[in-house]
């Protein structure tokens, strides 16, 4: 069983008069098999939360634990390995390597992880996300939504235990957004993953197992 735990996490940017508390005393726990949504207005601290969860930033106070080990106690090498093997990131911007075709983006992941996934698996994922015709295209030949879907596919491709997605549906229409969320929910439920999706799209609320709201750096759970 995987889990992700925040223990009294506070993140402060800057010092003195420019000091800014982006996250305040956050306690949070996610367990395998859950699709968790984090909503909140712009600038409220959602991306900060997600990057701390993935170990890209360290909290000013408090601890983040993945599978019961504290991230900040891991060496940089171990953190890199953790990201490569356990975490799939879908970021808000710059997700794809500009000089690799869609197909090569996946091959690159294969090479890094020394995994030999079948073509079939890639094709399944891509057809689920409606991307099969795009295999030979470079990122600059894709629309915003297509890019986002490729990024999602790539994050899922390595079969990570955790998927951390920052506004993965921002560039998608309602239909596609629903499809993506359904796909993520299925993964969480059937394959026992932990999936955290940051969004401001409240229509997706019903699909999630839990919904948290961040406002001004404070996190509360929303009753559904």
């Amino acid at each position: 069983m995987s889990n992700l735990i925040f223990e009294s996490v506070t993140k402060v940017f800057g010092e003195g008069s420019s000091k800014y508390v982006a996250l305040e005393n956050i306690n949070f726990k996610a367990e395998s098999g859950q699709l968790i949504l984090v909503v909140g207005p712009s600038g409220s601290g959602k991306t900060t939360f997600l990057t701390i969860a993935g170990g890209l930033q360290t909290p000013t106070e408090g601890d983040v634990k993945i599978n019961d080990s504290t991230i900040k106690s891991l060496s940089e090498k171990q953190q890199t390995k953790l990201r490569l093997e356990k975490i799939g990131f879908v970021l808000q911007s710059y997700n794809l390597v500009p000089f690799l075709t869609v197909e090569e983006q996946f091959k690159f992941v294969d090479k890094l992880k020394n995994q030999n996934l079948t073509e079939q698996k890639m094709h399944e994922l891509l057809s689920d996300l409606g991307l099969l015709e795009l295999l030979k295209k470079y990122p600059n030949q894709l629309s915003g939504g297509q890019k986002q879907r490729v990024a999602i596919a790539r994050a899922l491709y390595t079969d990570p235990d955790y998927i951390l997605a920052d506004e993965p549906t921002a560039a998608l229409d309602t239909d596609r957004s629903m499809k993506v969320i359904e796909l993520l929910r299925d993964l969480a439920h059937k394959r026992n993953k932990i999936i955290i999706v940051v969004t401001h799209d409240l229509r997706l609320k019903d699909m999630a197992d839990k919904v948290y709201q961040i406002i001004d750096g404070k996190m509360t759970i929303l009753e559904k």
Partner: protein, 348 residues
């Protein structure tokens, strides 16, 4: 090195530009080192052929053959396995009007230097005013059996053989016997050359032993010329280092966002650094190889008056030098890659 290769193939223009730059500077370097070697050879080739290790000259001569005069006593008190050298620079003409500035070198036909001389054509005979001459004479149209008329003298030297790589202070050498050179320099011995270094006790007062390499350094103009080349070559290395650094720096700055994302996705810093070093290595190898090929072609097509010698050791040294420079040039970009914080890039 999947990422490195894919990137270079996708960004052909950018990477071709760096390759072109490296090529240009390497080409210049190869030509310059070729000229440096060529000119050095012109100055010292004959001496190298002697295959000697020391030379005894007059102490007051500052190592200059022309200014060194050894007395008969001094010569007599030196070991007799040395080769006595008399030297005289002059203009010679053939009977059909060909002219050549030369170094006449008088030595005994039993001396180790003369025994060592190689012959490309003709025979090795310097009896009775015969001479073995530099094959530069052959390429300038002189033939075996031609007579060389020495300016301001009634001396006629008959060409019996041609010998390769015989230039001294950039002039072709004519080897003749001591008897033949006697009327021109009044029988003076300028220096005695030894196959092995002499013990200091064997060197008479008033004379001075120099190793052949320091003798070469003291050839008129030799050191100044080589130093000039060395400076130009050193500057070119510095320039290539700066140019590659700047280029790679700009390229890296442009792709920092991607590097940040790759790091976020678990690509190690080490992988990204190796990837950049690999690119540096590849572009410099390609640039150097093109430069070597063009350098060789240039050396072949240049008129033979241009003293350019592109030898293996030059090419190896220059090639490795440039590859090292371009790896050094990758150091600044590597620092940037190491410092990139995935979070800073992602923002949002």
């Amino acid at each position: 090195m999947f990422l490195a290769i894919k990137e270079m193939l996708h960004e052909k223009l950018r990477y071709s530009l760096i390759v072109a730059l490296i090529f240009l500077v390497s080409y210049l370097l190869i030509i310059l080192t070729g000229l440096a070697t060529g000119l050095a050879n012109l100055n010292k080739a004959a001496i190298n052929e002697w295959d000697a290790s020391s030379i005894v000259l007059n102490s007051d001569s500052e190592g200059r053959l022309q200014q060194s005069f050894l007395s008969q006593d001094e010569v007599a008190s030196l070991p007799n396995n040395g080769t006595r050298i008399s030297q005289y620079s002059t203009l010679v003409k053939s009977e059909n009007g060909l002219k050549e500035n030369t170094q006449l070198v008088g030595l005994d036909s039993k001396s180790f230097i003369f025994k060592k001389l190689k012959i490309t054509s003709g025979s090795k005979n310097i009896r009775n005013n015969a001479g073995v001459v530099s094959d530069k004479f052959k390429s300038d149209g002189f033939k075996i059996g031609d007579h060389l008329l020495v300016a301001n003298s009634s001396l006629r030297i008959k060409i019996t053989g041609f010998t390769p790589r015989a230039t001294l202070s950039a002039l072709p050498v004519v080897y003749i016997s001591p008897d033949t050179i006697q009327p021109l320099n009044k029988g003076v011995t300028n220096a005695v050359v030894f196959k092995n270094k002499l013990k200091n006790s064997k060197i008479p007062k008033g004379t001075n032993q120099l190793s052949i390499s320091s003798f070469i350094k003291k050839l008129p103009g030799y050191s100044a010329q080589q130093l000039t080349f060395d400076f130009m070559i050193a500057f070119l290395y510095i320039i290539i280092l700066i140019v590659i650094s700047i280029f790679l720096y700009i390229l890296t700055v442009q792709k920092l966002p991607n590097l940040g994302v790759l790091k976020a996705q678990g690509v190690s810093t080490q992988y990204l650094i190796l990837s950049t070093l690999f690119q540096s290595f590849i572009i410099s190898v390609i640039g150097v190889i093109i430069a070597i090929i063009l350098g060789e072609i240039t050396a072949i097509t240049l008129p033979s008056e241009v003293p350019i010698v592109i030898d293996k050791s030059n090419i190896i040294v220059t090639g490795i030098g440039i590859i090292i420079m371009s790896l050094l040039g990758a150091l600044i970009p590597i620092r940037q890659i190491a410092k990139v914080d995935p979070y800073k890039i992602i923002g949002g």
